[in-house]
């Protein structure tokens, strides 16, 4: 089964307390942030590699971004992807629709039975890209997939609704799925895998290789400004060394009648 996995690189803002808005108010200052593969995309790669191990076929990893983004493709190659393509275009300011147009063009050049995306990205989290590309390719899709079994011509998927409910579908291939966290346990990358990944060639494409121009990507949605969110009710902070803070908190809990 030939698989295409679309992945991206994100700044890790989960524990960053130094987020600053750029003077333009259109971006954040990224120079002090650490970048990594999008959390959801690790599950995408694991799901893809498992399918390849079971059913054979090729796995191609695709990303859209500047040179630094090669690192997520190297990771994909180390996990077991056969080839990797980067479209050399900074799309961080584009809306998902523009990125979907690029990815549709790339995927049409490849052989695929299954296309996998992360259900959303950690940075913008709009969760739109996969289902948009499916519509452009004219293939069925399921988003938020937390269970996946594949046969030669179809997949059985479980997708997540709210409050612990799942729904299950059988979908004919070719199809596109967006993968949710928890669907598997992403493997650790071996040293051998890293070595092999360094020897493989990354294919770089430009917009013109895809018969696209920047004008074709004009976003339908325009970013007006970024700002820090209004502060909610702020917690009363208990300070001091751990023992001291713990002592104060224990007293608060006791006074509240918790124990």
């Amino acid at each position: 089964m030939d698989i295409v996995a679309c992945i991206k690189r994100v700044p890790d803002t989960s524990e960053a307390d130094i987020i600053k808005i750029s003077p333009s108010q259109k971006d954040i200052e990224k120079d002090r942030l650490v970048f990594k593969i999008n959390d959801w995309d690790e599950y995408v790669l694991e799901a893809a590699v498992q399918l390849k191990e079971k059913l054979g076929g090729t796995l191609t990893a695709v990303t859209v971004g500047p040179k630094d983004w090669d690192e997520v493709l190297r990771r994909a190659l180390a996990m077991g992807a056969d080839s990797a393509i980067r479209v050399d275009q900074d799309v961080s300011a584009e809306d998902p629709y523009a990125v979907a147009i690029i990815l549709e063009k790339v995927i049409r050049k490849l052989s695929y039975a299954l296309v996998l995306f992360g259900a959303q990205s950690e940075d913008f989290g709009s969760g739109q890209l996969g289902a948009m590309v499916a519509e452009m390719l004219g293939i069925p899709h399921a988003t938020l997939v937390t269970g996946l079994e594949a046969e030669e011509k179809k997949v059985h998927v479980k997708r997540e609704l709210e409050a612990g409910t799942l729904q299950s579908y059988t979908i004919e291939l070719p199809a596109l799925l967006t993968i949710h966290t928890g669907i598997n346990q992403p493997r650790y990358i071996s040293l051998g895998g890293i070595r092999r990944a360094m020897q493989k060639e990354l294919q770089v494409m430009s917009l013109s290789d895809l018969d696209l121009s920047l004008e074709a990507l004009t976003p339908m949605v325009r970013l007006e400004k970024l700002e820090l969110p209004p502060k909610g009710k702020q917690a009363e902070l208990i300070t001091g060394a751990p023992e001291e803070a713990a002592g104060q908190l224990a007293k608060i809990l006791k006074d509240a009648g918790i124990f």
Binding site: G127, E135, P140, K158, T170, P242, A246
Partner: protein, 327 residues
């Protein structure tokens, strides 16, 4: 702009909570712009829902079909796309549910209209509609406008818009729709509920809830110990279930359980909104987290910004000490 259209969503034969939330927001936006509020509901038994929606909407459109079982996105997409083409509402509004995530991106591509998902605010500015989204783990708000679009598609974040009382008696209009295809490439097989295990976190008065910041499975013991001295149980946020460290019955949040304990003590939980909607009913919330900017500190009553691996053992000792004095 002639109208605003709210796409209502049904779950277990009832309207989804988030549909009421965006319906209220839609009503407000329609009143401000002096346009009609439309709502659409589709399914096999829609009459009761139509009456309900008519308390907010000026006009409720119903589509009766027995082919919509299992919330298959494709047949819904055909119905909604057809409706949008015919009625040309300026704004199409939906709750940012799992169903909307399946439906709205392909709908936007089919119609060539812009989509902004998971909005925390929707408002008018000089006659244009603007939306705000929460990005970068809730640490930045981004406001967007729509460039020259006649129709825009917006989904609103679950729990973000308050439900105002609906006092109208809108008209109900039944719409005929005939499918031209079979959708046999995608078959609904059924709903699955998470397996119930031994612990019901919704019944606990004290929850010690662990998140990614717990770092290692073996540190769960520390949380169990704290729960034990407080007479509570351990719950968690999504990553802990994803890692396989706790079963999904312990998960608090949008895709897990909604809880209302007397005390909610979050350990290493950052407070993504999907988590917070599940615990906002807690009477007292305490957060222990290294990251001072973690959104959970915006909802907690008390917080300690420190390494939970140091604070929790000390807290267990202090509580045991205080308990010893009273016993």
């Amino acid at each position: 702009m002639s109208s605003i259209l709210v796409v209502a969503e049904r779950r277990d034969h009832a309207l989804a909570d988030v549909s009421y939330q965006v319906l209220s927001k839609g009503r407000q936006l329609a009143d401000q712009a002096r346009v009609e509020l439309l709502a659409v509901v589709a399914g096999s038994d829609v009459n009761a829902h139509a009456k309900e929606l008519a308390r907010w909407a000026d006009r409720v459109l119903t589509v009766k079909s027995d082919r919509l079982e299992g919330l298959l996105a494709e047949p819904y997409q055909r119905i909604i796309a057809d409706l949008i083409r015919k009625r040309k509402p300026g704004i199409v509004l939906m709750g940012h549910s799992s169903f909307a995530m399946d439906l709205t991106p392909s709908l936007s591509v089919e119609l060539g209209i812009p989509l902004v998902t998971d909005c925390v605010d929707i408002f008018w500015q000089n006659g244009d509609v603007l939306v705000t989204r929460s990005i970068y783990n809730g640490k930045v708000n981004a406001t967007y406008s729509f460039a020259q679009s006649e129709i825009v598609l917006i989904t609103g974040r679950v729990g973000e818009f308050s439900v105002e009382e609906g006092r109208r008696q809108g008209q109900v209009e039944e719409i005929e729709f005939a499918f031209e295809e079979e959708f046999d490439y995608k078959k609904f097989e059924g709903y699955l509920e998470a397996e119930a295990g031994g612990v019901d976190i919704t019944q606990a008065e004290v929850l010690v809830s662990v998140g990614r910041g717990i770092k290692d499975k073996k540190n769960l013991e520390m949380a169990e110990e704290l729960a034990r001295v407080l007479g509570g149980v351990v719950s968690c946020s999504r990553p802990i279930v994803d890692y396989g460290w706790l079963p999904s019955e312990r998960q608090v949040g949008l895709s897990g359980k909604t809880v209302q304990p007397k005390l909610y003590l979050g350990l290493g939980i950052s407070g993504a909104f999907q988590h917070l909607v599940g615990m906002k009913g807690a009477r007292m919330t305490i957060a222990i987290n290294k990251d001072a900017k973690a959104p959970i500190f915006n909802v907690a009553d008390y917080g300690i910004v420190d390494d939970l691996l140091k604070v929790v053992p000390a807290l267990v000792d202090k509580i045991s000490e205080l308990k010893g004095k009273t016993e």
